[in-house]
């Protein structure tokens, strides 16, 4: 089997920066990316066949372009695109699907930069066409240049939905309102932590200004309660919430819409780290389950590193620095640089990270999902979309005394579908915790199983041990 010194999985900000950094010291790097282009969610490239002049593209797109160019032309990094890493096996054996066949390689060191995905929040009607997540919507507007609808309601929390709303307004959609679940009543307490992060603050204020100009109402302390419609969403019901994001009865209101976009933040993608059996810890402010790691991003399993949003939702700037840290530490472990050199190179990164993390942590304190949001999911609402398992069916099993999440999976089939519980696992975990009054840490997560995404059987049958 082919062996490489460092394999990086995921070509977003963390993966790209890690690759550039490690290659500087002559480490043989293989960067594996699932999509056809590097960039990840944040630096995502335009779809094939699209062009745009520089003015139409935001500054992050331009930054992404520069970084990718540096990676591709400046250094010796092997980039494998269109390759889905579907499993990691003992001794850091990485199996990926490319051109309908599985290839494997062994890596001395691994960086898992799996990224994150939109947090699913179920409510009656959430499976109707016309209800989508902020990440999907952002990709449509920014990259595919398609409008998701004409009369759009945004519901969620955090600055991402402001950015999305601004993009939608610019593209000519009617945004009927932005519902911000957080009441923001304590937000002023966090203001000092935002000090110094002028660029990020300027971005946020810019979006707010744009929305104001377009007369888009921003309703604090409100959530989506129900989506109504037959074939397609035609109406949204929203309501006020208390500090725990529990709906305040009697405050429901209707609005005619054809699209509802939910943006309740992100969940770290931890499937590869869990597949490797890296010990995990629960951190609701960082998005949920994350692999335990040290300050250099090395997980509890020697030689396996984590970087970017999969190690906690902290945004692209933090992701990039984490990727660099991991790479520098790996260079040291592989004997390319001395420990002194490592400290020298890492200290400005640590300093930068302190500022960025103070900012991100303030945002997370304000906007992280509160449990009230999931406390009252009506019984008839589908939780597992793949297997169409409802909240009621899950509660029935819990009521029988079955409270371990893997047993719930076995008996209800929730999480047994093609998405492997990517969508329903976070919801079920919270539900079990709420119903059984146990902390989420004790509830745990679904036993990880390869492949992390469905692949055609022929792709496994054709195995080239490259």
């Amino acid at each position: 089997m082919r062996e490489v010194e460092l394999a990086i999985i995921g070509g977003g900000p963390a993966g790209i920066c890690a690759a550039i950094e490690a290659a500087k010291y002559g480490v043989e790097v293989t960067l594996i990316e699932e999509n056809s282009r590097l960039g990840g969610q944040f630096y995502r490239r335009l779809a094939d066949g699209f062009t745009a002049n520089q003015r139409q593209l935001d500054k992050y797109y331009v930054r992404g372009t520069k970084l990718i160019a540096e990676l591709e032309y400046g250094r010796k990094v092997e980039v494998i695109e269109n390759a889905l890493v579907w499993g990691i096996f003992p001794d850091k054996e990485v199996a990926y699907l490319r051109d309908d066949k599985t290839e494997t390689l062994k890596a001395q060191r691994l960086i898992l930069a799996e990224g994150a995905y939109d947090r699913p929040v179920p409510f009656p009607g959430w499976t109707l066409p016309g209800v989508l997540t902020a990440g999907a919507a952002l990709k449509m507007v920014k990259i595919e240049k398609v409008l998701p609808g004409e009369r759009i309601l945004l519901a969620g929390s955090g600055p991402l939905q402001l950015l999305l709303a601004a993009h939608l307004v610019r593209t000519g959609a009617k945004v009927v309102a932005v519902l911000e679940a957080s009441p923001l009543d304590n937000a002023w307490k966090h203001l000092p932590h935002l000090w110094g992060q002028w660029e990020l603050l300027k971005d946020g204020l810019g979006y707010l200004w744009e929305l104001r100009k377009a007369k888009v109402p921003l309703l604090r302390g409100h959530v989506i309660v129900e989506a109504k419609g037959e074939e397609q969403v035609c109406q949204a019901i929203y309501a006020k919430v208390d500090r725990d994001w529990q709906i305040v009865p009697g405050t429901e209101k209707n609005v005619e819409v054809d699209t509802i976009i939910t943006g309740y933040g992100l969940i770290p993608s931890g499937r590869l780290s869990r597949l490797c059996r890296c010990p995990q810890k629960w951190d609701p402010y960082l998005g949920g389950w994350i692999p335990e790691h040290d300050e250099y991003m090395e997980t509890a399993l020697p030689g396996i590193f984590t970087a970017g949003d999969c190690s906690g939702i902290e945004g692209a700037a933090v992701a990039a620095e984490e990727g660099r840290l991991a790479a520098i530490k790996i260079c040291q472990e592989l004997g390319r640089i001395t420990p002194e050199e490592t400290s020298r190179r890492c200290s400005p990164i640590f300093k930068e990270l302190r500022g960025l993390r103070r900012f991100e942590s303030a945002l997370n304190s304000i906007f992280a999902t509160r449990r009230g949001l999931l406390a009252r999911i009506p019984d008839e609402v589908i939780i597992c979309r793949c297997e169409e398992v409802t909240a009621g069916e899950i509660r029935n099993v819990i009521a029988e005394g079955i409270t371990s999440i893997n047993e719930i999976k076995a008996l209800t089939r929730a999480g047994m579908g093609p998405c492997q519980g990517r969508m329903c696992a976070p919801i079920i975990t919270e539900m079990v915790s709420i119903e059984t009054k146990r902390p989420v840490e004790e509830v745990g997560f679904f036993a990880p199983r390869p492949p992390i995404k469905p692949i055609p059987l022929v792709g496994v049958a054709r195995h080239k041990s490259s």
């Binding site: 499993g87 096996f89 003992p90 054996e93 199996a95 599985t102 494997t104 029988e400 079955i402 371990s404 893997n406 047993e407 076995a410 008996l411 089939r413 047994m416 579908g417 093609p418 492997q420 036993a447 199983r449 390869p450 492949p451 469905p454 692949i455 055609p456 059987l457 022929v458 792709g459 496994v460 049958a461 054709r462 195995h463 041990s465």
Partner: protein
């Protein structure tokens, strides 16, 4: 957490739950001890749910036959849907040279007066167009079944619970105490459970329980890997398809290990089951890797390749999950151990079911209950006695 019961069952899998049910039915107070946080976490939850019939010879065949009969009315008996389906099975070959083997196989069952059919390539194609042209010959029968193994374990457990059985989870057995040649209690990490009888239903871990009493139980974990596909429309005729090579990999491990074919060396032979949900499980593999329950790329790859050979349309079907479990394999003769032991008395062993734990769960539970409450069992079990290893 000190407790007492008439019978303590070690292991909350299929066998332990079944034993608890059949004992509880006789009015006996049972406590089941399981080290994991839930039931069905070992081999019981890592299999295909197949209950094959036409794979066995005497004495296993009689045991299987009795168990399949029990399965037929079980959902109704315990008031819980086990998703039992009398699927029958087709065992078939993609190798012209196996024609005589298949014919002999057919004759064996026909001579017993069983309803079996020998089918040739064209007939097979006609009956199940999804099967590939490489499938040259097959034998069909109507006795095999498929179940949902989780539902079987929980169904038994649920029914037993209603009759007073207690399940203690997240509890590990540390020792078994005896007095004057008789078991008296099970010592766990969470207290002591006094019992007159102790049942070792710990599957692949049963040798460790045996060791606590100085007994050598000749069982070791045999790893079996399984692929699960997305749901596809149900097959018309056969939802349980077996590869003729399975007769070798499952019942002649030595021959498989000596094979020159790398696939056979890994113990890979086809066993394909389509559950009521439409998902296929594609197996099987048999190898010895200690207690390492990880799946491996070469085995998954051989399993997938083999499956596509039997059913070419699998090529485009999505592979959504893979897992491995430990079959408790008796390395002396491959047969289960269903037995009391002479010393200490009160200790009952129910393990060594290899790949047949699901198939044999009902009859095993019934036999265990008879070993404890009756002077003799309803069917002969001498072939499964522990004394076959000790010469007693």
């Amino acid at each position: 957490m000190d407790k007492t019961a008439e019978v303590a069952v070690i292991g909350g899998g299929l066998i332990g739950s079944s034993a608890a049910y059949y004992l509880a039915k006789k009015g006996i107070k049972v406590i089941v001890i399981e080290k994991k946080e839930g039931l069905c976490f070992g081999a019981s939850g890592a299999n295909q749910g197949g209950c094959p019939f036409q794979l066995f010879t005497s004495p296993l065949l009689e045991l299987v036959d009795e168990s399949l009969k029990l399965y037929k009315g079980l959902s109704e008996e315990i008031g819980y849907d086990l998703e039992y389906h009398n699927s029958g099975s087709l065992i078939c070959s993609v190798d012209e040279e196996q024609y005589p083997t298949m014919e002999r196989h057919y004759q064996v069952f026909r001579k017993k007066g069983l309803d079996v059919r020998l089918l040739k390539r064209e007939e097979i194609q006609g009956l199940e167009p999804g099967l590939g042209k490489d499938v040259v010959v097959g034998v069909e029968e109507h006795y095999s079944g498929i179940v949902n193994p989780f539902k079987v374990t929980y169904g038994f457990a649920r029914a037993a619970r209603k009759m007073g059985t207690e399940f203690v989870l997240s509890t590990e057995v540390k020792n078994i105490e005896t007095n004057k040649g008789r078991v008296t209690s099970v010592v766990t990490d969470r207290g002591k459970i006094g019992a007159n009888f102790v049942i070792n239903a710990a599957g692949a871990w049963s040798p460790y329980i045996g060791e606590m009493l100085g007994l050598t139980i000749p069982v070791r974990p045999q790893r079996g890997q399984v692929i699960v596909t997305e749901s596809v429309p149900l097959n018309k005729r056969w939802r349980y398809i077996l590869d003729a090579d399975y007769l070798t990999t499952a019942f002649d491990a030595e021959k498989a290990a000596k094979s020159k074919d790398p696939r056979m060396k890994l113990g890979v032979a086809g066993s394909y089951i389509q559950a009521n949900s439409g998902n296929w499980t594609l197996a099987s593999s048999r190898d010895f890797a200690g207690y390492n329950n990880k799946v491996t790329v070469p085995t998954l790859s051989y399993m997938a390749e083999r499956a596509i050979k039997f059913m070419p349309r699998f090529a485009d079907v999505k592979f959504i999950r893979a897992f491995a479990g430990f079959r408790p394999f008796c390395y002396t003769d491959g047969l289960p151990i269903l037995s009391k032991v002479d010393n200490p008395s009160g200790f009952v062993i129910a393990t060594g079911h290899a790949g047949e734990g699901v198939t044999l769960a009902p009859i095993t539970g019934k036999i265990v209950s008879e070993l404890i409450t009756e002077t003799r069992t309803s069917i002969p079990i001498a072939a499964f006695a522990f004394s076959r290893f000790t010469g007693g």
